[in-house]
């Protein structure tokens, strides 16, 4: 693929970066990234990936845009209320970068369809808001050998890590073996979330995705980055592959995907 004049202009400020160049830009153009959730994390992540020239973005969400989403879910506008989030998101991303191919999945992502869906993507971003989805996407990425960039947010805090057990790193279950019992972990609905915190974590997910796709810098695999907005502090915890992990450990017990019950529609 040869870059057009317009593409050179559009991507010039990142193409001049050391390690990016035309080769890196071409990798992005050829890349397919799947984003689970077009909400607080998925919105900023998808926007930066589309803006950067990621060729194909898959956006999965079965929700419709509601007024209380708009405080943080920047893919959507007030006029979009009532639309499917994936339709509203597709329109925003295409207007940002008409070169990006946006594939939408308005159905619920479950154990029956997730592997088929992510098979065609190079990288998966988890922007879901509940534990059943987090474990489902982690397990599916493990079975499909896809790099997973996982983000989570609550109140004034967020966390992010990259999971690539296919390269020897830990998986999400090495960190949290099982979903907490329903009702023990607060949802965004109960606990609240500062919109900018969603932006910070979502943009960092995009940052790590771009690094993984181009092959830049140091991967976040094996490290959990914790962010606290009130003190504006980052902490980093090392996470190692757990040899007794039920999914990726030495004697794995989980051989199939599990649909955990959703405690509430958080």
């Amino acid at each position: 693929m040869r870059f057009s004049e317009g593409q050179i202009h559009r991507y010039s400020r990142q193409m001049i970066l050391p390690g990016v160049g035309g080769k890196g830009q071409r990798k992005l153009a050829d890349a397919r990234v799947f984003i689970l959730g077009a909400g607080g994390l998925g919105s900023p992540a998808a926007m930066y990936l589309a803006a950067a020239g990621v060729g194909t973005i898959g956006l999965a969400d079965f929700d419709r845009v509601e007024l209380h989403n708009l405080q943080r879910q920047i893919l959507h506008r007030t006029d979009d209320i009532g639309l499917l989030k994936v339709d509203s998101g597709k329109r925003t991303l295409e207007s940002l970068n008409p070169e990006a191919e946006i594939r939408t999945y308005a159905e619920r992502i479950t154990s029956t369809n997730i592997r088929q869906v992510i098979k065609d993507y190079h990288l998966v971003l988890d922007g879901s808001d509940n534990f059943p989805a987090r474990f489902l996407v982690n397990d599916a990425c493990f079975f499909e050998k896809k790099t997973l960039i996982s983000g989570a947010i609550l109140r004034f805090q967020g966390q992010i890590s990259t999971f690539k057990p296919q390269s020897g790193g830990p998986c999400y279950r090495c960190l949290i073996p099982e979903p907490p019992p329903p009702g023990t972990a607060p949802s965004c609905q109960e606990a609240g979330i500062l919109g900018a915190v969603a932006g910070i974590i979502g943009v960092m997910q995009a940052n790590e995705a771009l690094k993984e796709l181009i092959g830049l810098g140091e991967s976040l695999a094996g490290r959990l980055l914790l962010f606290d907005a009130l003190s504006l502090c980052f902490d980093e915890a090392k996470i190692q592959r757990n040899p007794s992990c039920r999914l990726c450990g030495d004697t794995p017990e989980i051989k199939d995907l599990i649909d955990y019950p959703l405690a509430c529609q958080g």
Partner: protein, 116 residues
């Protein structure tokens, strides 16, 4: 930018170029003429283009070329005369020569090398 201002930029910029030499005849500034010791495998005319596009298009051309091949780039945007060779060197390419072609154009000669 007006044409006159462009000309002034050209003169003030070329006087700062680290080219040295004794040949006179380009805007009254002492610079070496283009030696043309090599035969380029490819020529890239970037006249009318400005930074950073001059650098990006040079880099894209080099990425398409084989290791060891030589690219001759023509630019007429004064800042590019310094910036393009510097940026290409930073990337790891071997800049062989930077020299004026005439009153407005400069030639930048670069050898493509295998970048890691």
């Amino acid at each position: 930018m007006t044409k006159n201002k462009g000309r002034n930029d050209k003169i003030s910029n070329t006087s700062k170029l680290p080219l040295g030499g004794s040949a006179v005849g380009f805007n009254q500034v002492a610079v070496k003429k283009e030696k043309r010791l090599f035969r380029p495998e490819r020529e890239l005319n970037l006249k009318g283009k400005i930074c950073p596009y001059t650098f990006i298009e040079s880099m894209l051309a080099l990425e398409e070329m084989k290791t060891g091949e030589i690219l001759r780039i023509i630019v007429d945007y004064p800042p590019s005369v310094g910036d393009v060779p510097r940026s290409l060197k930073n990337e790891g390419y071997e800049v062989l020569e930077v020299a004026p072609v005439n009153d407005t154009d400069w030639a930048i000669w670069v050898r493509n090398i295998e970048l890691k």
